[in-house]
């Protein structure tokens, strides 16, 4: 009896796990091709810039990223897959873009790069590329627990004039249509993304703020802890799924 129950549980969790689908699965074939092929993916223009920026030492104290980290392909391998991460200095989780800025200010004596700037997105997409193909691997860090709980609560909370929660669309109605768009499951494994709607590169926070505007809620400010907590919950929700950054999305 116990064996049957165990088998049933295993099957159900397998089914649930098997049901997790990347945003890629909800796109048309030509958009998928755009993401799959580095010679078609516009995000690779940002990656190319990020690769050059990694080695530049013409700012601040003259240190480049490479001065401390060396070759990004080895040093940054798997890093984006572990973000957002707890930052002891800040006493809270931070996302990859914030970590890059922390390095710039703290180690390179250089100015912070503005959120959604080409300069920051270039470095972010170059670093994120080094985790492509690896499983999302947010660590089990006890210090993250209270922030994770906030993020999950926020995911399930109705917001805005439309009074919708993230969960209502992306957990309960994925695959159905909102207007003419198919609702994806919203696993953030491809960020930063080249979004066709933006005709540009953008971070997960940009997308979250857009969604909040979409339900007619005032969006949390860029860089806010509320948004990082949501990013954190999304990272845990997607744990084990393949990293696709830098992805293309409609």
């Amino acid at each position: 009896m116990r064996i049957i129950l165990f088998a049933l549980c295993a099957l159900l969790s397998l089914a649930a796990a098997a049901q997790r689908m990347s945003g890629t699965a909800f796109m048309g074939p030509s958009t998928q091709a755009m993401q799959r092929d580095d010679s078609l993916n516009p995000a690779m223009l940002w990656v190319k810039e990020g690769e050059a920026a990694w080695r530049r030492s013409d700012e601040g104290n003259g240190k480049s990223c490479a001065s401390c980290h060396g070759d990004a392909a080895s040093a940054m391998r798997g890093v984006a897959a572990r973000y957002p991460a707890f930052d002891a200095q800040a006493g809270r989780p931070i996302n990859l873009g914030q970590r890059i800025n922390q390095c710039r200010v703290g180690r390179q004596s250089a100015a912070e790069l503005p959120a959604e700037s080409d300069a920051l997105l270039s470095l972010e997409s170059y670093v994120a590329l080094q985790s492509r193909g690896m499983p999302a691997a947010m660590p089990d860090d006890a210090r993250l627990q209270p922030f994770l709980a906030h993020g999950q609560a926020r995911w399930q909370q109705r917001m805005g004039q439309l009074n919708l929660s993230c969960a209502q669309c992306h957990d309960q109605r994925w695959g159905q249509r909102l207007g003419s768009s198919i609702i994806p499951q919203a696993h953030a494994t491809g960020y930063p993304i080249y979004r066709l709607e933006w005709q540009a590169m953008g971070s997960l926070q940009r997308r979250l703020r857009n969604c909040l505007n979409g339900v007619r809620a005032a969006p949390y400010p860029a860089g806010s802890l509320e948004l990082v907590e949501l990013e954190l919950y999304l990272a845990q929700r997607a744990r084990g799924m393949e990293m696709e950054a830098p992805a293309v999305r409609p």
């Binding site: 010679s39 078609l40 516009p42 690779m44 223009l45 940002w46 190319k48 810039e49 080249y194 005709q199 540009a200």
Partner: protein, 107 residues
């Protein structure tokens, strides 16, 4: 300087048809789109693309606002001889950028 990505084979056999893929970062602002203040943003697009093979034009394109932002172009050319391929994008606001690549043609 706009960022560009160019993909083509480094070597080819004489008479072989090669595929060239180009990508360039450019907003391709159509001239029809209102900005945040409601005023129409002025047109700012790449209008011409030219590929020269050892100085001779082998492919060119006239682009209009209907071409997407950060445009890509994929075209073909006959590998005739070793030498230099240049790629020139020109457009509004005196935009002009040229990139080049070497090709070795054997046989």
């Amino acid at each position: 300087m706009a960022r560009t990505l160019i993909k083509l084979p480094a070597t080819a056999r004489r008479g072989e048809v090669i595929e060239i893929r180009t990508l360039i970062s450019h907003p391709m602002e159509t001239g029809y789109r209102p900005g945040a203040d409601g005023q129409v943003l002025p047109r700012n697009i790449i209008r011409r693309f030219t590929c020269r093979y050892n100085g001779e034009t082998v492919f060119s394109a006239e682009l209009f606002p209907a071409i997407a932002a950060n445009p890509n172009l994929i075209f073909h050319t006959l590998a005739t001889e070793s030498g230099k391929l240049t790629f020139t994008w020109e457009g509004d606001n005196n935009f002009s950028q040229t990139e080049s690549a070497e090709i070795t043609v054997t046989g």
